[in-house]
């Protein structure tokens, strides 16, 4: 039961559109799993439901033996699920360090004061922003903002991390750094659910993948096998290529 995410029969409708239609899968403790699919297939909606930003119409999300389905995002964070956002969302009036400190202060274990400041520095160090806590977030480069956001997510000391296209928009050398960071997390025993378009990263990081199309899971299993499955290729490239 330790840190297992289990999603069963998840559904979400927006008006007349069914965005997610009966999705089920699980993330085992310590596993990095990729959630793939073409644009509009419902990946981010699933992420939003797991993190509590959206409320599911039906189905259940259990994490660590706790039912998350009806909980608010702040409660979910306290149960050990943290996330980054598809487009970086730094808090502009807070310094880099304060952005990260926020999650320590309200995360799973609630750190504050001198101890928290040391933890913040540690996390900044970890993502490669050591010594830059006093800077304004607005002045950071894109990759550094992404790093900061990762540090902020990590600072709530999650057991499960949701990365929503965290690697998108990076150049090849930055991408390598990013992949190494995530791999490092896995080494620390953290589970990661990764929404990603960059196949290179998926192959490098994920042991298993879940592929969605039009709100439904069309394939799941070992990454290599899944990525070669005809229904996956057709979902990505259209039926002509199947």
């Amino acid at each position: 039961m330790n840190g297992r995410l289990e999603i069963t029969g998840l559904k979400k409708r927006f008006g007349g559109l069914t965005a997610v239609n009966g999705v089920s899968f699980a993330v085992e403790p310590g596993e990095v799993i990729g959630l793939l699919g073409p644009n509009g297939s419902g990946k981010t909606t699933v992420m939003n439901m797991v993190s509590g930003a959206l409320r599911a119409d039906a189905g259940s999300i259990r994490f660590d033996g706790v039912e998350l389905t009806r909980l608010k995002p702040n409660k979910i964070a306290k149960h050990g699920v943290a996330r980054t956002f598809q487009l970086v969302r730094p808090l502009p009036t807070l310094s880099v360090a304060e952005n990260v400190l926020l999650s320590f202060a309200f995360g799973r274990k609630r750190h504050w004061g001198r101890e928290a400041q040391m933890l913040v520095e540690e996390k900044l160090e970890f993502v490669g922003l050591g010594g830059r806590g006093g800077e304004e977030v607005g002045n950071l480069t894109y990759i550094d903002q992404k790093r900061m956001e990762l540090a902020r997510a990590l600072a709530s000391e999650p057991k499960l991390l949701l990365l929503d296209e965290w690697l998108a928009g990076l150049n090849p050398s930055e991408l390598r750094i990013g992949i190494d960071l995530v791999r490092h997390l896995q080494g620390l025993g953290m589970s990661v659910l990764l929404v990603e378009h960059i196949m290179e990263a998926v192959r490098a990081l994920c042991s298993r993948c879940v592929v969605m199309s039009a709100g439904e899971v069309i394939a799941s299993g070992e990454s290599e096998a899944v990525l070669k499955a005809p229904q996956v290729i057709s979902a990505y490239l259209g039926d002509d290529h199947a």
């Binding site: 310094s95 360090a97 304060e98 400190l101 400041q117 806590g133 006093g134």
Partner: protein
């Protein structure tokens, strides 16, 4: 991590800077105020020049202050007991229709400007707000534009306060007198429709009117209050007309008084008695009613044969550029004349002035005037438009009273 906590040093420096600037400003203000001529009598007042009270103050109070000061200074100033004359110098503040401002302005006049005399603000509430201060600093308080039934209590509490406009009961008793006479003459039926503005003035009057009318045997068929912001009276006039009452009473403020008149004309609502609140006695009412004010009744009124009053009205028009109203203006002006005469008799000692006002007899535009328990009782309570003049009709037994002419003629 300095950005996290509040930087104490920086903040306190800034605070200290702010305080220093504040005290400098205070000092500057003090310096300016003390530089005044020594031979002038300083008279201060705070009045609503902006905000919702400005309309009332500008009609009834401020013009009379200006007129009186103008006249006194034209005569060479206030005459003192030794026959010497000293001009009046005015310090005026805008209270911005705020109770806190009016209180502070009066404190400023009393303790900072140290004026010789303070004239009161406009309105019942504001007069009560400044009453304790005026009393504490010993200034005679000639509450002009304040209608209250509790004047006796106030005089007991603040014995240097004087009340010039009577109370709700005075006005409603006088009105009931007129109504009873009309009913006995068979002019009106027993039914009354009554509306009032939901604010201190309206409530005071309507509260006094209910028992008075019931005692007089009238049945109140319609009795509603409306918010001061109301601008549309179509429904109210409809409902009142539907009751079949011959008497319509509105304890209203000028905007409502004007709108009620226009709506009654449009709806051809023409009750035998059409009694309105503040504003019906304003000179502008002639235009608003399209010249059809004949028979409309309201508070106040004048004796058209009183030469003193006619002369006052002419002077007001000459100096201020417009005529005074037919109710409060003359009372305010009379209170100032009393003040002037009291000074001529006892000098500028505030306690002496108060005593003189309380006990003396004065010649004013109202004729020979004497206060009863610090209150002016020599007031016309009810008036009616007759031939282009707002004639006083109650109390009917007083010299100069006109005869109420009922029923009111139809709107054309």
């Amino acid at each position: 991590m300095n950005s996290l906590g509040i930087s104490w040093a920086g903040s306190l420096t800034r605070l200290a800077g702010g305080l220093a600037a504040a005290s400098l400003t205070l000092a500057a203000a003090t310096g300016a105020a003390s530089a005044q001529e020594t031979d002038a009598v300083t008279i201060g007042y705070a009045i609503s020049k902006s905000g919702p009270n400005a309309g009332g103050a500008d009609m009834t109070v401020t013009p009379n202050y200006e007129l009186w000061v103008h006249e006194v200074n034209e005569r060479g100033g206030l005459t003192l007991p030794d026959g010497s004359q000293r001009p009046i110098e005015v310090i005026e503040y805008d209270d911005r229709s705020s109770a806190e401002e009016v209180v502070r302005a009066v404190e400023r006049l009393a303790t900072q400007d140290k004026v010789d005399l303070i004239l009161p603000p406009w309105g019942t509430g504001f007069n009560l707000a400044v009453a304790p201060l005026m009393a504490r600093h010993g200034y005679p308080h000639l509450a002009g534009a304040a209608v209250t039934d509790k004047a006796d209590d106030f005089v007991e509490r603040w014995d240097t306060s004087f009340w010039f406009m009577g109370g709700g009961e005075d006005y409603t008793h006088a009105l009931a007198e007129v109504l009873i006479e009309a009913r006995d003459a068979g002019t009106i039926n027993n039914s009354v429709a009554m509306v009032s503005v939901a604010d201190g003035f309206g409530i005071d009057l309507v509260k006094a009117a209910r028992p008075t009318l019931e005692e007089a045997g009238f049945e109140i068929a319609y009795d509603k209050a409306f918010p001061p912001q109301t601008s549309d009276f179509a429904t109210i006039i409809n409902e009142a007309a539907g009751t079949g009452a011959d008497t319509f009473i509105a304890f209203s403020y000028p905007p409502h008084t004007f709108a009620l008149t226009k709506q009654a004309q449009v709806a051809s609502y023409n009750p035998a008695v059409f009694y309105l609140g503040v504003g019906a006695g304003f000179p502008v009412y002639t235009n608003i009613s399209g010249g059809q004010m004949e028979g409309v009744m309201s508070l106040g009124g004048i004796d058209p044969d009183n030469a003193l009053n006619a002369e006052y009205r002419a002077r007001h028009e000459a100096v201020i550029g417009r005529a005074p109203d037919y109710w409060g203006s003359v009372l305010i002006y009379a209170s100032l004349q009393m003040l002037e005469q009291a000074i001529e008799r006892v000098g500028l000692d505030k306690a002496e002035i108060a005593k003189e006002l309380s006990t003396g007899t004065f010649d004013t535009v109202l004729g020979e005037t004497k206060l009863e328990n610090n209150q002016l009782r020599n007031i016309w309570w009810t008036g009616q438009w007759q031939d282009g003049t707002f004639v006083a009709v109650a109390p009917g037994d007083r010299d100069g009273a006109g005869e109420a002419s009922l029923p009111k003629p139809a709107w054309q």
